[in-house]
């Protein structure tokens, strides 16, 4: 099945929604060009740390960060998009990925542990789903802060993740889970791992849950509609465009879609071509320069 339009919402493209879409797209461009540079430099073997690119999934982080502000954030190993769209310092991220002392974690772990206390983001240790009970424990004490916890469709299967859904409902915690559902755990498809759907399981634990595609406005308004009904979870269908880890491109099968290109085209259809091209040009240059400058430190 192709989930490109799965539970997509139809919106009027009035000035308000166009403005929201533009803000989200701008972040998508930022993430995309950051990641494309990471991909190129890694492909050229300029560094060898663990890297998990989020190309193809940019709309999730761009949209969530627009809809949910002033939150505490727990991410998983594929967290560049979260870090960047919430305002983390891109230089420190490059430095971490290329293994420098000046990186977010002093060169400790490549992508997984990146964090920035200033933006409220905690680090990930590298064991999938580990962040989920930890985010719940944090939320148990920090009741006044909304916690957003990202996880993958693979991590959703971890025993301790499933147990967490029961716990957050028991204590009615102020936490929202965002599942980046790229239908892959490394290269194993969901159908080879389980028969259940995350949003249904979570509902039976008593949480509010939704299952949608990665269309920006659909994500944005789904969050707006659910954010006062926590704890809840949104499962977002998306497509990983590049390899699980390292620099390589995945095969694009029948079920693949490229959300970046879809949003880009939509904006052009909405007569926002100048905005699109201008931002692409700006971020293309900015990110290229940034990577080049940081790589000189190696």
């Amino acid at each position: 099945m192709n989930y490109k339009n799965y539970n997509i919402k139809k919106f009027q493209y009035n000035s308000k929604n166009i403005a929201i879409l533009k803000r989200i797209f701008k972040k998508m461009v930022y993430i995309r060009f950051f990641e494309l540079n990471a991909y190129e430099s890694r492909k050229e073997d300029k560094f060898k740390t663990l890297i998990y690119l989020c190309l193809g999934q940019e709309s999730i982080y761009a949209s969530v960060s627009e809809a949910l502000k002033n939150v505490s954030i727990f991410g998983q190993h594929r967290g560049h998009g979260i870090y960047l769209s919430y305002g983390g310092d891109p230089r420190k991220l490059v430095d971490e990925l290329i293994g420098l002392q000046t990186g977010t974690n002093k060169g400790m772990g490549g992508s997984p542990p990146i964090f920035d206390k200033k933006i409220g983001m905690f680090g990930h240790v590298g064991l999938i789903g580990d962040q989920v009970p930890v985010a719940a424990g944090y939320s148990l004490i920090k009741k006044n802060k909304t916690v957003v916890c990202f996880l993958g469709d693979g991590a959703a299967e971890e025993d301790y993740v499933l147990a967490t859904f029961g716990f957050v409902k028991q204590y009615n915690l102020n936490i929202i889970f965002i599942c980046d559902d790229n239908d892959l755990s490394v290269l194993t498809k969901t159908k080879d791992r389980r028969k259940w759907k995350l949003n249904e399981i979570v509902k039976s634990f008593g949480l509010k849950a939704m299952d949608i595609t990665d269309d920006p406005l659909t994500i944005y308004y789904s969050i707006k509609s659910i954010k006062n009904k926590l704890p809840s979870l949104i499962n977002i269908r998306t497509c990983r465009e590049y390899w699980h880890e390292g620099a390589g491109k995945d095969k694009e099968g029948k079920s693949f879609w490229n959300r970046y290109q879809i949003v880009r085209k939509k904006l052009i259809d909405l007569k926002e071509q100048n905005f699109v091209l201008q931002n692409e040009k700006i971020y293309k240059n900015k990110m290229k320069k940034l990577w080049k400058k940081q790589l000189l430190k190696l």
Binding site: T49, G99, G109, G110, P113, G154, E158, S185, T188, R193
Partner: protein, 301 residues
């Protein structure tokens, strides 16, 4: 043609599956290169797990109670931590508590280097050695793999096999090396064993000789007469392992050796007591030939 370690594992596993004597159970087995080509590329007998790193081991242990031989694969040894309880508290204790065995064959795979990082780097056999009922070995050659497999099939006990990715492409067998003029007895475990020849060569160019022993069984540790003889001669020993230096198997074996030969001093070497990082200056892995030689030189001074 000689088989590599990976081919040997695949061959032994395939025989088990094809004879309906067992299963292979683990995460991401088929889609991800068949676990470095150590798993036969077939449907029969292969059980894909969801990403459940606590219950996963329980499924494997349960299968072992049903008169089959499950091979439970952990693609990184770090997953041992999450999967520990069913292995340590059920499989390992089953024989003593219930009188029947739970013969699960646990393949825990170590890797190291810049893309392994703080969690997934190297081996975690040491904490498991602390607990009763679980034999532990670290085969690095095709012949050793066959030996431990035979041993496993003979008994109805679980076994923790501490594998290392560095061994998979190897075809060579190791032999202990003994020299009349040796000044130190060197005991190598896991990936440190691949440094043995280089150590000998480099030391020899300085006119220094050491005896080199390859350790396969970590628990129970099998004393050989040659170890005693060597230590009686050198009086100094060093045990090296691909895991943390303190509070682990290498320290334990060093202690045992030291007590078995009066007047000998046996030391140990391994990863430093800090989390390994990806960045070159934070790497913390198996001591290489140079580190081992440096230690040897301080000991024989």
């Amino acid at each position: 043609m000689e088989k590599t370690v990976a081919e040997t594992i695949r061959y032994l596993s395939k025989k088990l599956l094809d004879n309906d004597k067992g299963i292979i159970i683990g995460q991401c087995l088929s889609a991800v290169g068949w676990v470095q080509n150590t798993v036969p590329a077939q449907k029969k007998g292969i059980i894909e797990l969801p990403m459940t790193d606590v219950a996963g081991a329980g499924f494997a242990v349960g299968a072992s109670l049903a008169n089959i031989r499950p091979i439970f694969i952990l693609r990184f040894q770090s997953f041992l931590w999450l999967n520990a309880s069913p292995l340590i508290n059920h499989a390992a204790k089953s024989k003593e508590m219930f009188g029947y065995g739970a013969p699960v064959f646990i393949r825990a795979i170590a890797s190291e280097g810049p893309s392994s990082g703080p969690i997934h780097t190297n081996c975690y056999h040491s904490p498991f050695a602390h607990m009763p009922g679980l034999p532990i070995c670290a085969p690095m050659t095709p012949g050793e793999y066959k030996e431990i497999w035979k041993n496993y099939l003979k008994k109805d006990l679980p076994m923790l096999v501490s594998e290392h990715r560095r061994s998979y492409k190897e075809k060579l067998e190791f032999q202990d090396k003994i020299f009349p003029k040796a000044k130190l007895s060197l005991f190598l475990i896991s990936a440190s064993r691949f440094e043995g020849d280089k150590i000998l060569k480099l030391l020899r160019s300085n006119g220094i000789y050491v005896d080199v022993f390859h350790i396969l069984w970590l628990k129970p540790f099998k004393f050989k007469k040659s170890y005693m003889k060597s230590l009686l001669k050198t009086k100094i020993g060093l045990v090296v392992d691909s895991t943390y230096e303190i509070c682990g198997v290498s320290e334990h074996i060093a202690f045992k050796l030291m007590h078995s030969v009066k007047g000998s001093k046996v030391y140990n070497l391994g990863m430093k007591d800090k989390s390994p990082g990806c960045s070159p200056n934070l790497l913390n892995g198996t001591p290489d030939a140079f580190e081992i030689i440096k230690k040897i030189k301080t000991l024989i001074k």
